[in-house]
Amino acid sequence: MKTRSFTRRTLLRGLGGVAIGLPVMEEMFPGTSLAASAASKQVPTRAFNVFFGLGIPDPVQPNQFDGVLEPLAPLRDQLMVLRGVDQVRCDRSGMNAHFDGATGAFTATPPNGEARSGGASIDQLVRRAHYPDGLPKGMVPTLVGGTFFRRSRVGRYVHSYNPDGTTAAAMQEKPRDLFERVFGRIRLSGEGNETEERLKRSVLDSVAEQYKFYTGANSPLGYASKERFKDHLDRIREYEERSFAIDIDDPRAPSMPPASELKHSGAADPGGEGIDITLEELTKEWRLMADLYALAIQMDRARFGSITFLAAGERIRLKGDYHYNGKLIHRFDDGSQLNGSGSKGCSHEWWHRFNESKKNEQLRAHAHMKMREVAYFLTRLHEGEDNREGNGKSILENSMIAISTESGDGRHSDVKRELSGIFHAVTGAGGRFKTGGVLKANSEGIDVYNTMLDAMGVTSRLGPPDRKYHRLDSMLA
């Protein structure tokens, strides 16, 4: 599989088009010059959450960087993997473990209803503590993006929350949306705010999708009507371009990334029945998303937020040969291997079928692949001169980045068990946390997070005020 990676410089050279004002940018950044922030010794405070769907059952998690964690091995010195972190307090009756566990990631509190978390996520508390008057002008206050399909509940895929449980920013689910959020400004066509404009655009997207259906092969319409609907669709596209035109307000912005070829929004989650997707399609989109997100950080357009690789309880029927370091790890073919259609043929069934005494080959392969993709994103913040900051460390090393997931061993009958031993990994945050191995934390998620907040100089704590905070000293440097 060939997946181009988009570094700042390759993006600057243009993706399938002429870069905007390219010569000027080349002049501005001759040679291998660094992003603006890197020029000064001052390293900004940053905090990001990285979420991946369908976790790694505790028994599958190794005690070193091998097995399903093999892809994280090159970043061993930048990470500490925490084992034995429990999120049992996140259980809420009437919910399901995918969702409870997912909403508990980075918040350690049970969800507050269908679309809200129970409290703030750690990145947001750091942001509020370090930038009480807001971020420098022009910066995206919180950047939320991701590649995911299952959407039924917000907690499955959004991982930055305000203290009142509302989402800290709108989810950018297509690379182009994220690009526009970072580098552009939607030209408001009427009154109304940007969120409203984005919603209107998503409404229009769904309208366009319907016209697309009526012009396609399964349309019940005859030739003439189809042609009329093609006209209608063209006009909608024209309207979209005119009304939601993006003003690029960052002169350093790269050219517009290509439009996503994957299903998004409602079409991506047909009633929980799952979608067919190849490994190549999935990886291509995710890596573009990861590149753009990393670029936003490098260019100092974003210091807080979250990025999601596959939603909690994600429903995809993945197909494709999965190679790692030149060896074939697995041939993904969920639908056939599970011998099921709809949701019963989706990879998430491997988690339901997890059995400690068996090999769980497919589950391991999926988990391994997710670690590869998480590592891809983290590496984009670490390798190369563009990531080197004034203190000589990489952005990855200087930032507080928490990596976590939902529960994940598929035991829906045993929620308590399922919410125990949730995978966590944390970066060094400028030398605040230990890195370089696997730590048996054996702690509650809330204590892990509060320890991180403590170390970041944040005074507020997660959880009920009367709860005693147990600092996890073993994770501190």
């Binding site: 319907q210 006009r235 309207y239 009633g271």
Partner: protein
């Protein structure tokens, strides 16, 4: 209590010869009649019983099977079994329209069995195949292995299925007259069980339901041969022709004549050689023995036919473009093939348009339909904003709802987006959403149910799976941006209001075969837009959901109910505005030098006069439509009465009152109202007025003048009145051929000036006349009249005018010009309407009952299937 029944009778051996040899049992539904009982067996009739009304419904459009349980034959099935056993052969025939191609089992269409494992025979559907099971003494009790239609595919369309078994054990499955499967079976029927039940749609024990519509079931005690099957297929369900059938050569020649030749004759020949002109004593609009006597046509021999000789050499048509080579080829082929002439009178109104021009278009809602739909579905008045933002619909073929012309511009999209926002902002979303759900959680489970209910109402039919996913996407996106249930509802509605299913009337056009009924939801929209110009209400949608709307009795009750609703009046006013092009009045600007007293308010008063008059005649007095032409009263403001030169009635400025016109013989009827008299412009053009009467009242057709002709308006002058100028054109050798067909129609209106005032002498002192004559298209002798009043009475009494009104109403209902293929149906509508009284409601009821509304419009046949 019989919930529903499928009429059926036995056919006795004695009567067999009358219908079809070997026919034992036949049950059918023939469109256009009440439920049919075809024939009798030993003088006894038997019913078919459905388990309950939720199982099956019987209506004009067939037996509709909706759930399990089937419909059981209550007659003597023992006797049936005995007869078939003794015959040792049989044929099963059904006309079906499956609800879907996912039905397997096989799903039982017709079965003679005990339960899912024991049978004499079964005809069933297995996906896109037909599977027959047949017990013989060499085969299983279950009749397996199944006999399969592996050479043909079943479509989700009206399909003719026949299964035959010969005494020799040859079995054949036919789909639409074609062999779709053939197999040999061993054994005889002697081990059949006489105690089994005959059912349609399921096993007696349940569990194998088939869903769809059945229009005919017939059982024969012999094996029909291929040509018999083909023949039965070609006769269709109710004896109607199936267009896809292979026709005999004489049928093909007739079809060629009706679909091509009549159009060629209309286009190139009838201008001179019709009943009015008969140049060279030749009338090519009619089939006359003289054509053959004089060797104008020699059937089977083009070279000896004078018609061919003159067109081949381009001698004809004179002064017009020559006939194209393709058209010549067709004419030659038609003469060589026998020169079939199957039409009494080639009416140019029908044949000027190619018969295969019936390309179906998904109809975009017109501005007024959009406004009405928003009002009735969403409870919001958007008239002002929609009128301002939406581009006006452009007139084509006499109406601005002509679907092919309802194109989409950028401005439409802009307006639709803005209007969707405005509409949602005006809605009480709390109250509206409560009609569809009480649960406000944005979970999959609740949202899907909510989207289904909301969508079915707003989009006028069930929401498809992929649409549910799209709409669900909107609610999840709203949730991810911290929006709640009400915001999500708002966004859902914004998307639905811009959906193709809201803005267009979407019906199945592709893959429905040649003849398919509109389903219940399609029908609900068809009748509501036809009668109301608006969306179906909850009652219609409820009936559609229950599958009852297609039942003739229900349909008729609904039509009556809907015609009592104010929306029906509103729609009728839309029709009359369109037909008479009353919007034209908003733009007239008479020359102030000629008409110094003109005030723009008069134009509105004229429009109101006609609309109020129409409402009084049609709705309050419930007079026949023909009364519009000569009813002696009208409605005028004092200013308008004064403008007309009539005595004013004291009613306050701008206020309309009813004027009795019995003492004013020149007034009475729409043609004497300012709204129509202004049609000829300041100069009161005889040409324009005459063409209006010809085109819009008499359904006449006239070609544009040849390019070389000077069409400048000749002004009247002292000693030369408009009438005299017109008469000059009529007698002119070049112009007369056409002008004679329409100018005399306007002679009677000469005394009305360009703005409708009545005068005996024009501004030059010329004495004006009001006598003239009317040539009705198709009649060779014109009819004279002496006064305006006589002209109005003549038009009101003319069957051609009455027919034209029906044609115009039908055209407006269909949103497309009508053509030769519609002629028979429109004539049937007209006959039905006239028998019922000829009132607006009679015509509308007849339209709703007609095939034009109840059958879908399939994609047109290709040229190939017509011409060979």
């Amino acid at each position: 209590m019989v919930d529903s029944y499928f009429g059926l009778m036995w056919l006795g051996k004695l009567q067999i010869g009358l219908l079809c040899a070997g026919l034992l049992i036949q049950a059918s539904s023939s469109h256009g009649q009440e439920p049919i009982l075809d024939s009798v067996f030993r003088g006894e009739s038997s019913e078919w019983l459905a388990k309950s009304s939720s199982t099956a419904l019987f209506g004009e459009s067939g037996l509709q099977l909706k759930s399990s349980g089937g419909v059981r034959y209550t007659g003597d099935s023992k006797e049936l079994s005995k007869q078939l056993k003794s015959a040792g052969a049989m044929s099963l025939e059904v006309w079906i329209q499956p609800d879907g191609l996912g039905q397997v089992g096989p799903a039982r269409i017709l079965t003679f069995s005990k339960n899912a494992n024991e049978r004499n025979f079964t005809l069933g559907q297995n996906g896109d195949r037909i599977e027959a099971r047949l017990r013989t003494d060499k085969r299983s009790k279950n009749g397996t292995p199944g006999l399969d239609s592996n050479q043909g595919k079943l479509a989700q369309a009206l399909t003719h299925v026949v299964f035959t078994v010969s005494q020799e054990g040859n079995t054949v499955i036919f789909l639409n007259g074609e062999v779709a499967g053939r197999q040999r079976v061993q054994g005889t029927f002697k081990n059949w069980n006489d105690g089994y039940q005959l059912l349609i749609g399921d096993e007696a024990s349940g569990g194998r339901p088939w869903k769809g519509r059945i229009f005919r079931v017939a059982i024969f005690d012999r094996s029909l041969n291929a040509s018999e099957v083909n023949n039965r297929f070609s006769k269709g369900i109710g004896g109607e022709m199936q267009k896809a059938v292979k026709l005999s050569s004489s049928d093909r020649n007739a079809e060629l004549f009706e679909t091509k030749i009549a159009t060629i004759l209309t286009k190139h020949c009838l201008e001179c050689h019709d009943s009015v002109n008969q140049k060279g004593d030749l009338d090519l609009s009619k089939s006359l023995a003289s054509h053959f006597d004089e060797e104008i046509l020699v059937a089977g021999n083009a070279d000896d036919s004078l018609l061919w000789e003159s067109i081949e050499s381009d001698e004809m048509p004179k002064k017009r473009d020559p006939i194209s080579d393709e058209e010549k080829e067709l004419v030659k082929k038609w003469i060589e093939g026998g020169a079939s002439w199957t039409i009494d009178f080639i009416d140019p109104a029908i044949y000027s348009r190619p018969a295969d021009n019936a390309t179906p278009w998904a109809r975009r809602l017109t501005v007024s339909e959009y406004i009405n739909t928003v009002r009735d579905t969403l409870g919001v008045d958007i008239e002002e904003e929609a009128g301002r933002l939406l581009p006006p619909d452009i007139r084509a073929d006499g109406f601005s709802n002509t679907a092919y012309n309802l194109s989409v511009d950028f401005k439409h999209i802009d307006a639709y987006v803005k209007l969707a926002n405005l509409i949602v902002a005006k809605m009480d979303l709390e109250a509206f959403s409560k009609r569809f759900t009480k649960n406000r959680e944005l979970t999959d489970k609740n949202m899907i149910v909510y989207i289904e209910a909301l969508g079915q109402f707003v989009l006028r039919g069930p929401v498809k799976e992929e649409e549910k996913a799209l709409y669900r996407g909107i609610t999840t996106t709203t949730a991810s941006m911290n929006g709640g249930f009400i915001e999500a509802t708002g966004h859902l509605l914004e998307a639905m209001i811009q959906s193709p299913r809201f803005l267009y009337r979407i019906e199945r056009q592709h893959g429905i075969g040649d003849k398919a009924f509109a389903d219940d939801f399609e029908l609900a929209s068809r009748i509501s837009y036809t009668l109301w110009g608006s969306s179906p209400d909850e009652e219609l949608l409820r009936l559609a959901e229950k599958g009852e709307l297609n039942h003739s009795k229900v349909l008729s009750q609904q039509t009556q109910r809907m015609l009592k609703d104010p929306r029906a009046i509103e729609r009728s006013l839309d029709f009359v505005s369109e037909w008479l092009h009353l919007d034209r009045l908003s733009h007239i600007q008479p020359n102030p030098l000629s008409f110094p007293d003109w005030k723009p308010e008069l134009a509105q008063a004229m429009k109101d006069e006609t609309l109020t008059f129409f409402q009084e005649v049609v709705w309050n007095e419930k007079l026949p439509m023909a009364a519009l032409f000569n009813t002696p009263y009208s409605f005028m403001t004092p200013e308008l009465a004064d403008h007309y030169g009539m005595p004013t009635q004291s009613s306050g400025k701008g206020k309309m009152t009813k004027h009795d016109l019995t003492g004013i013989p020149e007034r009475g009827g729409i043609l004497t109202q300012g709204s129509l008299l202004t049609i000829g412009g300041d100069e009161a053009s005889m040409v324009t007025r005459g063409l209006f009467v010809l085109n819009d009242l008499l359904r006449g057709v006239i070609n544009d003048p040849p390019p070389s002709v000077n069409t400048e308006i000749v002004a009247s002058e002292p000693g030369l009145s408009k009438r005299e100028i017109g008469m000059g054109r009529v007698s002119d050798k070049t112009c007369g051929g056409c002008h004679v067909k329409f100018e005399p129609l306007a002679y009677g209106l000469e005394k009305f000036d360009g703005l409708g005032s009545f005068e005996e002498i024009d501004e030059h002192g010329n004495v004006l006349r009001e006598d003239g004559e009317v040539a009705i298209p198709g009649d060779s002798e014109p009819v004279g009249y002496g006064t305006v009043a006589e002209l109005m009475d003549l038009l009101a009494a003319s069957s051609r005018v009455q027919e034209t009104v029906t044609w115009k109403m039908t055209q407006f209902a269909m949103g497309r010009p009508l053509n030769a293929r519609d002629a028979a149906t429109v004539n049937a509508i007209h006959r039905g309407a006239m028998e019922a009284g000829g009132r607006y409601e009679d015509v509308m009821s007849a339209i709703v009952r007609s095939d034009l509304i109840r059958y879908l419009a399939p994609e047109p046949l290709t040229d190939e299937s017509v011409s060979h």
